[in-house]
């Protein structure tokens, strides 16, 4: 029993240290991370339980922050002539999907776009395929079909003007917008 307890305690401290480092480097929220003082008269068991409680709370907050950051990411970029989203966007999109699953009344509009190269009507098809690739992934990860509306603007609504590769990269995208 004592042995087991010790392990829980150790991992709690370790987790606390990691979260503390992460928090110190990225936010001003350092006050919470101050070393935990021993409350007078608190038993070891009570103290460990309290630490565990605090750890879970911090984890929850960290998780929430990461999810909010993911939800704030609403533009997803695509490679030239490619309709599949980038693998690095998977985690972010999973957060979007879970958020939709948890909020059945929420719905979003997926707006697909292409860069200006190639014909306009083919680019309209390409923009739709991009929006659909994100829509299908969101459905697989828990969103409901009825929460998702797609529309393609093809090359008609660029994010930035210009004929440079950098402009094209920013224009090949799907934007997640709140839907009416």
């Amino acid at each position: 029993m004592g042995m087991q307890f010790n392990n829980v305690f150790k991992s709690a401290v370790l987790a606390l240290t990691i979260i503390g480092l992460a928090a110190c480097s990225s936010t001003s929220d350092t006050e919470e991370m101050a070393p935990v003082a021993q409350t007078a008269g608190e038993s070891d068991a009570a103290r460990a339980a309290r630490l565990e409680q605090e750890r879970l709370e911090r984890e929850r907050q960290e998780q929430q922050r990461r999810e909010q950051a993911a939800l704030n990411t609403t533009v997803f970029y695509f490679d030239f002539d490619v309709a599949e989203f980038q693998p690095s966007d998977r985690e972010t999109l999973i957060v979007h999907a879970r958020n939709l699953a948890a909020n059945p009344n929420r719905s979003v509009r997926l707006e697909g776009h292409a860069d200006e190269r190639g014909t306009r009507e083919y680019n309209l098809a390409l923009g739709e395929r991009r929006a659909n690739s994100i829509r299908d992934f969101l459905i697989v990860n828990g969103a409901s079909r009825s929460q998702l509306e797609t529309v393609s603007y093809g090359e008609e609504r660029p994010a930035v003007n210009g004929q440079a590769e950098d402009a094209y990269r920013q224009n090949r995208r799907v934007e997640v917008q709140p839907a009416g």
């Binding site: 190639g118 014909t119 306009r120 009507e121 083919y122 309209l124 098809a125 603007y153 008609e156 004929q163």
Partner: protein, 428 residues
């Protein structure tokens, strides 16, 4: 929703296009168009002779003699001395005079056309119209002169439509314009805060169809040009785009993605019956009709990259038409029914989209343009020129190129992007 339908009027827009010739032929046919005499007191709004000269020069096959070099200024046959024009190496001569019809705004234009080498009058006629129709009269004369010299019908009296986008990103205003073939007398047909795409003409030129995003979704509309009345033709989920009338005017081909991916459909405009022509999980788009209205050509990326296919208008298995290009799209037959104009990117490496013509009998391909971002080719009804959208100086502009690729002119716009020219059929 912000969309403004403008009823067709004679109000002129300030944002007119002007033609600049960027290339010409080596040995153009010399034509002299003498300033037309005018018996009225006030100056005329339009210079008919100047318009005729510009028209002929714009198609590149002709050179018009400068007025400063003319040795005499005849306005009718008895004043013409062939020697004056032979010395100047002219082959053809156009003269005319304009007179006011008593008691009104009408004018009479008497004009004559001479073959200098043969020393004979080829034809002469009298046209009557209002003061506001002087440009129309000038285009009419140009059409006749063009036909007399080349044997082909002129397209100077035809019109174009095009789309413009003005203003910064986020507050762009889209407009559908209507203008003479040379960009003059531009008028606005539709104005919207949402994109407008793919304008096309009905075969008789009385109606137009286009895609408007005014409901936040791409939907097809048909608008009557004389009344401004319009109706939404489609409201299917997904893409509703690329409307195009069959040459016999009975059907409208279009693209719908209601079943998951864009496919070609044909709407019978009489029975309202919708027929699906293609059924493929990849993209099928950009339909165009064969001249006999029996088949539809379209773009499909079913093999990975866009290529051009042809399918029977009643359905069936599509036949692939292009093989030797990385990207071949947006095809349309010329009036000869043999040559297929299209947007072409040769290889993955070359990264430039040009306008090209494929002869479907010989499989020979001629590239007409060498700019990088050419798209939306539209053919003049006489097949002599192709107008297309391209990019110059960071802006969308309209260019036209002769069917042999030797002559090119540009219609610059004073502001914003212009794109998607659509050349009308013959309107008279």
């Amino acid at each position: 929703m912000f969309v403004l339908v403008l009823v067709f009027s004679l109000r002129l827009s300030a944002a007119e296009l002007n033609i600049e010739i960027t290339r010409g032929v080596d040995n153009p046919i010399p034509v002299a168009v003498v300033p037309f005499a005018w018996d009225g007191a006030n100056l005329l709004d339009e210079d008919i002779a100047q318009i005729i000269s510009s028209n002929l020069e714009q198609v590149g096959e002709f050179s018009a003699l400068s007025r400063a070099n003319m040795l005499s200024l005849p306005s009718e046959e008895r004043e013409v001395h062939y020697r004056d024009w032979r010395i100047l190496a002219q082959q053809y001569l156009v003269v005319g005079k304009i007179s006011q019809v008593p008691g009104g705004q009408m004018v009479q234009v008497q004009w004559e056309f001479f073959d200098i080498n043969r020393e004979r009058k080829v034809l002469g006629e009298v046209l009557t119209g209002s003061m506001t129709q002087l440009r129309d009269i000038a285009h009419e004369i140009s059409d006749v002169v063009y036909q007399e010299i080349t044997g082909r019908r002129g397209a100077f009296s035809t019109k174009i439509m095009y789309v413009s986008a003005e203003g910064p990103i986020g507050s762009t205003i889209f407009k559908l314009h209507y203008a003479d073939y040379d960009g003059r007398r531009a008028q606005i047909l539709l104005e919207s805060r949402e994109p407008i795409m793919s304008p096309v003409w009905s075969p008789d030129g009385g109606q137009i169809a286009y895609v408007s995003f005014e409901t936040d979704l791409p939907r097809i509309y048909i608008q009557d040009l004389s009344t401004g009345q319009r109706r939404q033709v489609t409201n299917f989920p997904g893409i509703n785009s690329s409307p195009v009338w069959s040459p016999d005017a009975s059907k409208l081909a279009m693209v719908l993605s209601k079943d998951g991916s864009p496919d070609i459909y044909v709407l019978d405009l009489v029975t309202n019956e919708l027929r699906q022509l293609t059924d493929h999980p990849r993209a099928e788009t950009e339909p165009a009709w064969t001249l006999d209205s029996n088949s539809v050509i379209f773009t499909s990326d079913r093999t990975g990259q866009p290529q051009i296919y042809k399918v029977d208008a009643t359905g069936g298995l599509p036949e692939r038409m292009t093989f030797d290009c990385f990207y071949c799209a947006k095809a349309q037959f010329l009036p000869d029914g043999v040559n297929l104009v299209h947007v072409r990117r040769e290889t993955r490496q070359d990264n430039s989209y040009g306008i090209a013509i494929l002869n479907v009998q010989t499989s020979r391909v001629i590239k007409l343009t060498e700019t990088a971002l050419d798209e939306s080719p539209s053919v003049a009804p006489n097949g002599s020129m192709i107008m297309f959208g391209t990019t110059a100086g960071g802006r969308g502009v309209l260019d036209a190129v002769s069917i042999d690729g030797r002559v090119k002119f540009r219609l610059p716009s004073p502001q914003g992007d212009v794109r998607e020219p659509s050349w009308s059929p013959y309107l008279n």
